[in-house]
Each structure stands twice: as C-alpha cells, then as structure tokens.
Symmetry: C2
Subunit: 662 residues, 2 copies
C-alpha cells in the first residue's frame, strides 16, 4: 500500500525536528507547519529531476522563508538528490556541512537561491519567472516551459520589497509564478496581530494577482489549490492555513517553535503524536521508497526535453546562452572608434554608447531602470520593452522599485540564460543594498548601472549626492565596483563586468568628462583595477591616485606640479578590488611601497576619504568629502569642496615643502 | 473681492515655474499639478503659524515628493514665514540658498523633514503621527492635538517602504495621518502604465485605511475630501486626480514637465494660460495679501494653546521633554553596580540592563524592534506596548518592517518629545540604510540597537553575519557607531548616544563576553571613542586595537605577548568617529604616530579590515574577515576565521621577529 501523503509529510517533520535538536539551533516550526503543502508540491506538481539538478527546464522552487531551511534539505534528501546525504543533515548548521543555517545555492544543487533575508526569495522568484517567459518567447515551449514556486512566510509578505515584487509580477502578468503563503499567524514576537491587521489577500488582488486559500495541513487541498493556481493566467498567491510546529503537541501554534529546538521531551512527544519511528533521523522504508519514486517522476519529462533539444535548430545557441557566454568582440572595434575621436561626455552617456555595441553583440542582456531610463542611459535604441504583451523585449521598466529591481535581477541571473543590468542613481544603491549583498554572496552576474555618482550631480543636493557609497560598496566581499574616468575606461569596465562571474557596480557620472585615454592600449587596463595613466616627467615626487571624474583633475594637478619641476605620476584606479588582486610586482610598480617622505601619495575622489589610507598610507594626502553635500551647480560644488586643480595643487606643493621633499 | 483659490494656487505655479527656469534645474511639474490641493490645505485645514514655526502643537506637513520642493518654498514664502525670502527663492538650487534642490529641514523652519529619497517622507510622517498620539495620551488634548499631512507622489507609493508605512499606520489606526496622493499618472519614464497596474486605493483599504478621491485641480473638492478624511477615524489616503505641470499649455500632462525647466517660451505661454503677471517672481498684491491672511489664521489658536500651556501643571515637564532632555543620572549608580559585580553577558543583554535603568529615568524613550524583541533585548519589564488601544505605551512591535521602523523613528525624533530606539540584527542595517542616512543628514536622535553584530551569531550563517557593515556605517557622515566590549562599555555607549544630538548605532553581540572593565573610571571612557584599556608591562612593542567582542581576545593576546617579554598596550575603540574627533594630544597618546617598525599596531575586529589602515598604518597588522561568513557554532567560526588568541599571538610575534623588533 502506498503511504499516505501525511506519512510522507511526517518524514519532513521528523528530519526537521531531529536536525534542529541535534544542532540545538534552527527553526523547526516552519518545516513542520508546511510539510504537507511541500509534500503536495514535490510529489505532484513540481517538475524536477534529482538526477540532474541543473536541467534547464526544471521548475524553480524558492524557499523564501529561508530560516525553515530544513524543509528543503529534507525534500532534497527524500526525493533523491546526491546531496544532502543523511550525514549532511545530521551535521545541520555545522562547519563545512552543506546544510547551512539558511539555504545557500552555492552549497547545494537544488537550492535555487540563497534565502534568509526576508522578502528577497519571493522577489528573486519574480526575476526567475521573468527570465522563463523571456526565454520562452525566444525558444518556445519546446525548450522553455516551466514554473516558479515560492514558499513564503508572514515576514516575506510584511517586508517592503514584497510590495515591489507583487507590483512587478502583477504588472508583467507572470502567471507562472505561484506563491504558497505559510499563514500560521505567528511571528517571532508572538501573534501576527501584534504588528499586522492587513487583508493580505485583498492586497495581492489589488496588485493583479489571483488568490486562493486552503487548509495547508491537508496535502489534497493544497494540490487542488495548486491546480487552480496553475490554471489561472495571473500570478497566484495561495494562502495555506497552517499551524507552526504542527505535531509538537505542547508547543505547536506558538512562537516557541519558530527559532529554537523543541527540546528532547517535546520531540519525543511529537514522535508519538505523529506516529514516527522511535529513532532519530529515521525514515520508514516504505516512506522513503515513495519519496524516491516521486523524485523519479521528472526523469521521463527530462528525457523528452532532451529529445526536443537535440532536434532543435537552436540547440547550440540555447546551450551557449545558458552557459553564460558573453562575447567581447564588440570591444576592440568600439575602442578603436573612441581612440580615433575621443568624446567629451558623461560616463553615463559613454555607458549607453558601450551598451549599443554590447546589446547588438550579446543577445542575453536584459536592461532596465528603476524609473530613471533617460538619466541612467540604460536603454539602447533597438531595445523593445519587455512587457506582458511582449516577453521577448529586452528592456524592463521596473518602476520606482530599486530593491525589487535588484532582487529580480538576482533571480534572472540565477535562472540563467540572461544577463541582467539595471540602473538607478548611486545614492539609491542604499535602497538596493540588501539585494546587492545577495548578488555578491551568490556570485550572481548582475550589473548595476549606478549613475550620478557624486556631488557632480549638482543641484539635487545632499539627499541625492553619494558620499560614503563608493567606499561602503567596496567594503562588501565578492563585489566589484568600477568607476571609469572616460569613455574608453567605461567600455573597458563594461567588458570586465560582463566577463566576471559575479556582480559589478558601475559608478558613472552625470557630468561631462574630458577624455583621459587617447591612445590604444594592448590590454584592458581597467581590468587591472589601476594603472599608470601618466608617468612623471621630472623626478617623481608624487603619485596622484584618482578614480572616475577626478582623474582629469589629477592630470591637471600633475601638469601644474610638473610646471614647477615636480614629477608626478597619475594612477587611474577604476576598481580597487581588482588592483588589490594583482600580483605584488604589478602593485609595487604602480604604487611603490616607499615612505610618503620619499614619494607622496595623494588620493583624489569626490567621496569619503575613509579607507583611502590603504593606497596613500597614513602620511599620504587624501582629497575627498567627509561630510554631506550641498545643492548647487556641479562646478560650484567642486569648488566649494576643494576638488579643483586650483585647490589641490597648492596643497600638494605645500606638503612637499613642509616635508623638505622639494 | 477676495481672490479665488485658483488665483492663490497660480501664485505657487508662477513661483515654481520661475524658480526652476532661473535655476535651469528642478521639478516644475508637481508644484504646478498640486498647487490647488496645497492651497486648499494651507488656507483652510493646516494648523500652523509662520510667526512660530516650532510651535509644538502645529500640524505637520511633509512633502514626501521632495523633488517638488518649490511647492513648499512657495507656500512658506506666501504664508509669511521669515524664510525663504523672495530672494532666497530666486537663488533656488544655488550654493548657500536655503531653497535646496530637495527640502531640507536643517535649512528652513517649516520644512518638517528632509525628503527626496522616495517613500520616506510618508514613512517619517507615520512616526510623527505616532509621536503625536503618544504625547496626546500623556498630556491630553489641551497640549497635544494636531494632525500630520503628507503630499505623496506615485513614486512614494510604489517604493517598498510604502507598504511598511501603510501597514504600520493601519495597524496603529493613526487617524490623524492624512495623505494627499498626487495621482498624475506620470513617472519619469513616462506613463505610470509602463510599470504599474495596481489598484492603489484597494491596497490602502486592505491595510485598514480610509480612502477618498477628488479632482485635485479643484481646491473646493480637495477641501471636502479633507473634511471627510479628518472625520474618519482611520488614516486616510486622498487620491487627487491632477495633471502634471498644469498650466503649461503644451507640456502639461507629460513627463517633460517632471524634472526639467519648461523653457522660456513655454513659461510665457503658461503665464498667459494662467493669467499671471508678465514679470517673473511677481505675485499680485491682492493674492499675496490673501495668502498672508491665511498664514495668520493660526495665530489665535497658538495664543490659546499658550494659555492652556501656562495653566497646565505639566508645563515644565512638557517643555523639558520637547527640549530633548535626557538625564544621565542613571549612569553612575548603574556603573557602580556593574563594577561591584562584573557580569559575563552578551552586550545585547547588557543593553537591556542599561535600558532598564534608562527607561526608568527618562520617560521620553520609546523602544521597539522589527520582530526581534527577544533577540534584540529591546523591551524592558515595565514597558507596555504602544497600540491603537494604548498610545501611552512605550514599546512598538514594528513587525518585519526594518525600513519602516527606521523611517518612523526618524519621524518621531523630528516631531520631538520622544527619543526613539529600535532593534534589528546588524545585518539588516542594510534594509534600514536609506533611513539611517536620513537620520544622519537630518541629525535626528535615533538610536539603532543592532544586535548579532558578527560571525559570533553563529549558526544562522553568512546571510545573517555582518562583515562589511561596521565599516560601511562608519563611512557615513554624521553617524556614530558604537561597538562596546562589555556591560560597562555598553552603558557608557548608551549614555553617549542619548547625550548626542544625532543618530547612533549600537552594535551588540549575541554571544557572552567576559568583562574587560572592572575598575571605576573618572569619566565616560567610551565617549572618547578609544582609550588605553591595558598598559604594556614590558617595553612596548605592540598596540592591539580592538572593538566589541574582540577586546577580550586582544587582552588575551597581550597576556601571551607579555609572557614572552613583549610589551603590549590594548586600546579599546568602541567608536572610531569619536576617537577621530579627539584632540591631537589625546590621539597621539593612545596611538602614537610612530613607525610600525618601532611599535607594531594591530587591529582586531570580526569584520572587514578595509579602512583599519587608518589606525594601524599600512605596515600594521589587520586581523579581520574579508570574505563572507559561514554557518557553524560561534566558537568554531572564530577558530575557522583565525580570530583566537591562539591564532593571533603567533602572527604578532612572527611579524615582530621578521622585522627585528624583538
């Protein structure tokens, strides 16, 4: 006799309970509450094959409520993925176990996204659903025909980014996105009534979503709700009424089951209540066999899909796109054009020009902006809008939803087959920051086009002028920030970002810049992070290090120094992280490790000086802005904040004199 | 004859148009579209007196759509505030004009909040409305009886934080909060249909709000909608159907009027269309007189209020609270207790203990947490919840709304009379970051209680472990970050934060720490930012600089060095910003500016090393974590990342040997 769905679900409960108990840390409540709903999804609806977790046409499942990580670990083990093993699960939350506290896609195939920071799993799923429809529009149902399922908690729904995700999905009519809401009425602080009295269903309906509800503890009812959701053309929210920690007789329905082990005694009581095996980490043979059979459901579909792929004319192209190939054939001829006729333009404009070449060459790019298209210069001429009526479009009007845009781009990058880039003002990197961090942690190739990157934006004033943003993004691991100085560097930085496996931020100016690179180079100099742009003519007394819009200022300062017989190198440093990664000889050549009393190192950047000690040393000179900006025309501000050759050159000379270096 | 409301409104249009034209920069569209609605509000409903912009019982008006700053500048001038003058307006968006690109409360009385970063004005208004109800519950209608009005754009409503603000206001039934929505159907990218197809009214209704709609170009109809909203007990959203740039005959209703000057020709055409004076910056005498009369409406109410205040027994206490007084009488006896019996506890627990003393002493504090009350230890025993049924409560369950919490706290601090503090995990400072920046820019005394401040949180793993957060917050101007090392330092840091005029972040541990301060001190040492905790016994070869949980590690390392005859100072540095602000002699005493070949400086902090060069110099040693964390018990992680005395002491010795310093 086939075990009941409830018995299958109880295997999840048992593993979740035992793993948390063994670790004495974790969140048993959610997996125990949503075990039946997850069983419904993974045994009936979800299209996947544990034998090939990367099968491109699999359905995506995102556990937005990442704290309930044992749910996905249990599901992957039960359905027959190679990892986690039962031993991995026994080492839940221990060093080097792939079963981390929150699910990490870089630890386990089958985990589609790294979740835990609430709201973002669902918002990333929106991006996956966009990527699916886009690729479907290009390659057809034959190759791309899958759904994105999400399991979300009250926390996911309460976070601000949920509003942005709901709005975006509703607007784009992403009917293949289905969210299972774990409506257990409990948050960490206690009853959800402590902080919420919203009609969640009405809110989703207001956003153009289909909504349904069911008893989340009855797998059969969840299956019917899933059928209904799949049949509906709109994105769907399924309210699963559940009981947190279901099965723990004394603690279920309370916040006590949310984020702590149940305790030995309660675990034993739950074992009895649920009719589980007496030993921990034990799944009855018939139950495991039924789960494994469910896990084999997708094998036939996958085989059929491979037949279709083999028969498809688009096979090579499709596989190349999924492999993430991004040609840089566009770069050389484009650079030649720029060198032939160096333009005086803003780097945001230079970025647009580079994008014209890139988008023509690389079909996988999908651009967009959080309602600043004309300011971020993110849209190229041939790009059509990606809309509910035209999923083949390659430009997304994300609306005033910076965080939602960034999270969606993460989802698109994780889905694969597309290379997302999106724009906003650099100041609003703060709004995207939680998603930028997940780009970095997941090593997702998302390219952030952040324009208006300093006081150089002028009149909009301090609310819009980044000061600390460059440094605070550079402090983030696994993220590269590029701040190019002219059109040539902008093209080089774009090429570096596209060639990278991880995320990049391009910090670009609003204001026009003079060209600083007017000769052909043998390599992508910006990809080195920093390079000598100008070599001292007279005996070298100073090295001026600058980024972006301040490079032309540094060149001017150098000229003035040389006119007084003071030799000065100028180092352009578009990417500090890249420079730090160069070999010691290269770094020593560019920035020799000598005393500032021998060669004075000067940094010039229109932002916080905090951190520039890394390149200037303590006794170098750091020119920047360590307070908030002001509202005025850009030129006035540069003068006001002392960021002009007139102001800087004398400071350098004075310091050299003071130190008897002249 | 009294001029019509439309003529009054047209004075706003004229000034907005002319100022933007003169600056050749700015946003004429919103002020021109919402001029009639603003006229209705400022001539009939809003309670204010330009003669005393700080009158405590005034209504608050928040221009959430801050890009339309000329609207509030025009209103302040027309109603008779001392500033801006017409000359100020003529210098719109120029250096040193108080009429900045976006409204700044530190530039102009009458501007209640600094806005521009979308969504936050409305979210701050929620905090103002909370503060009003709270103070009303304590001091009664006699002293506190005002409303909070907001003008919001589509952008404000599309931002994620709007969902959090709507949820919070609906939950707390803030009936005195009224939002005028400028429904002009235009965003920067074009028609709002490009990115939104939400039923906004239904969403607000789902959040427990009253909704109304009206022709926003008809002041009379706006007045009736305002009457209706004031009568309703729920927070209200009034949908004002408007035309962006109304009055500019060829451009109105298009995105072209949003963020750029109309152009000389179109301005002239608008002048004719609207029947304005031919000269720029000119308001007809009768119109100005009518505006000034409207501005005098509140004088009687203010006089009556002062009579009530003078008659009130609570007068002194009320005025003291509004002056922001925060006694530190609690500190001394509490420190004595700690010194007498130094506890081994987490600093989050130490914070709770300090708060017990603080909340008993200072009635103005209002605590809260974004659904992590038991983890942040933000609630003290006597605190009742602030709810719709009990506005006198002093603890807010903010729900899973970090950004909304932070913005609301800004609003509370700006309102005055309360001192807000609120908790979340330090990792989620990213979610709050746009609001933290506005705390800093506005110099608002908000205290962020950010716990679980490093890999020391353990098993939750890299999604929850701050790495770059300490440094990226330190990079922000006008913000102080405190990372105390034990219970004594935690109390000192709380005292420093409360005494500050601006915002503070307290970074606190999850894990227990040994006491490092076991002797009474003559002053608040933490308020200095850094101090010598331990003096070298043998000849000083090293200075170990550490913060928070790493201070006890530094002390252990020092002991080990001394046991080998190597003298080592330990400097505890709870607040780098404070230390930077000390006089040079003090700084030189703590961290002498000598070569690292003479005295090696070592920083130890469980976070990014980026930026620590400022204190160690280039050739110092920086112990930290420059990659993402991992999921494991805290002790295992400290070992894994080399943050133990066992790992650090040999590194120091080795470096000293290598440099022939021993």
């Amino acid at each position: 006799m086939q075990p009941t769905q409830r018995r299958l679900a109880n295997a999840i409960r048992a593993l979740a309970m035992d793993a948390v108990e063994t670790a004495n840390s974790g969140h048993p409540g959610m997996p125990m509450g949503m075990a039946d709903a997850a069983t419904a999804l993974f045994t009936r609806h979800l299209k996947y094959d544990p034998a090939d977790p990367h099968w491109p046409d699999r359905d995506r499942f995102v556990l937005s409520a990442g704290h309930g990580s044992m749910l996905i670990y249990a599901l992957l083990y039960l359905t027959g993925y190679a990892r986690p093993t039962l031993d991995d699960i026994k080492r839940f939350r221990q060093l080097h176990s792939p079963c981390a506290g929150h699910p990490e896609n870089f630890e386990l195939a089958g985990v589609e996204a790294t979740t835990g920071p609430l709201g973002q799993g669902l918002a990333m799923a929106v991006g996956m659903a966009i990527a699916e429809r886009h690729l479907n529009a290009i390659y057809g149902d034959e190759l791309v025909d899958h759904r994105t399922f999400v399991l979300a908690s009250d926390g996911d729904l309460m976070e601000g980014v949920n509003h942005e995700a709901v709005g975006l999905a509703g607007h784009l009519k992403l009917g293949r996105l289905i969210v299972l809401w774990d409506d257990n009425r409990i948050t960490i602080d206690g009853s959800v009534d402590l902080s919420r009295n919203e009609d969640v269903m009405a809110r989703y309906a207001a956003g153009g979503w289909h909504t349904a509800e069911c008893d989340g503890l009855d797998a059969g009812k969840v299956e019917r709700a899933l059928d209904e959701a799949i049949a509906d053309e709109r994105p769907s929210l399924i309210r699963c009424r559940t009981v947190i920690g279901y099965g723990a007789p004394n603690k279920q329905g309370t916040a006590a089951t949310h984020g702590a082990a149940l305790g030995r005694q309660e675990v034993e009581a739950a074992r009895k209540e649920l009719g589980l095996e007496p030993e921990e980490f034990t799944v009855p043979d018939d139950v495991l066999a039924a789960w494994r059979e469910a896990g084999r459901r997708g094998a036939v579909q996958r085989a059929e899909w491979h037949h279709r792929l083999d028969a498809s004319k688009a096979k090579d192209e499709f596989l190349e796109r999924l492999a993430g190939k991004a040609d840089d054939k566009w770069l050389k001829p484009y650079l030649e054009e720029l060198i032939a006729k160096p333009p005086t333009i803003a780097t945001r404009k230079a970025s647009e020009m580079a994008l014209e070449a890139i988008n023509a060459e690389i079909p996988a790019t999908i651009g967009g902006s959080a309602d600043l298209t004309g300011s971020n210069n993110t849209k190229t001429k041939a790009q059509e809008a990606l809309t509910a009526d035209n999923y083949a479009g390659r430009y997304i009007y994300y609306g005033i939803r910076e965080f939602g845009m960034a999270a969606a781009m993460n989802g698109m990058a994780l889905h694969g087959g597309v290379i997302p880039y999106g724009g906003t003002f650099l100041i609003f990197s703060d709004y995207c920051r939680p998603a930028i961090r997940l780009s970095a942690l997941q090593n997702a190739r998302v390219i952030y086009v952040m324009t208006h990157d300093s006081i150089g934006l002028g009149e909009d004033g301090p609310t819009h002028q980044p000061i600390e943003h460059l440094q605070s993004l550079r402090a983030m691991p696994q993220l590269e920030l590029f701040r190019p100085a002219d059109a040539v560097e902008t093209a080089e930085c774009w090429a570096a970002a596209l060639a990278s496996e991880g995320p990049s931020v391009l910090a670009l100016t609003r204001q026009n810049l003079s060209p600083v690179r007017t000769k052909a180079a043998k390599e992508n100099l910006s990809a080195r992070g920093a390079y000598r742009l100008r070599k001292a003519a007279a005996a070298r007394k100073a090295i001026l290090i600058a980024t972006g819009s301040e490079v032309e200022i540094a060149l001017d300062v150098a000229e003035r120094l040389e006119s007084q017989g003071i030799g000065a190198d100028v180092v352009s440093m578009p990417c500090t992280e890249r420079f730090d990664a160069q070999d010691p000889d290269y770094r020593e050549d560019i920035l020799p490790d000598v005393s500032n009393r021998e060669i004075l190192r000067v940094s010039i950047e229109a932002g916080a000086t905090f951190g520039w000690e890394r390149y200037t040393g303590l006794h170098g000179l750091r020119i920047g802005i360590d307070r908030f900006g002001a509202s005025a025309p850009a030129a006035d501000l540069y003068q006001h904040f002392g960021l002009t050759p007139d102001a800087i050159a004398p400071r350098v000379v004075e310091l050299l004199q003071k130190r008897d270096m002249l």
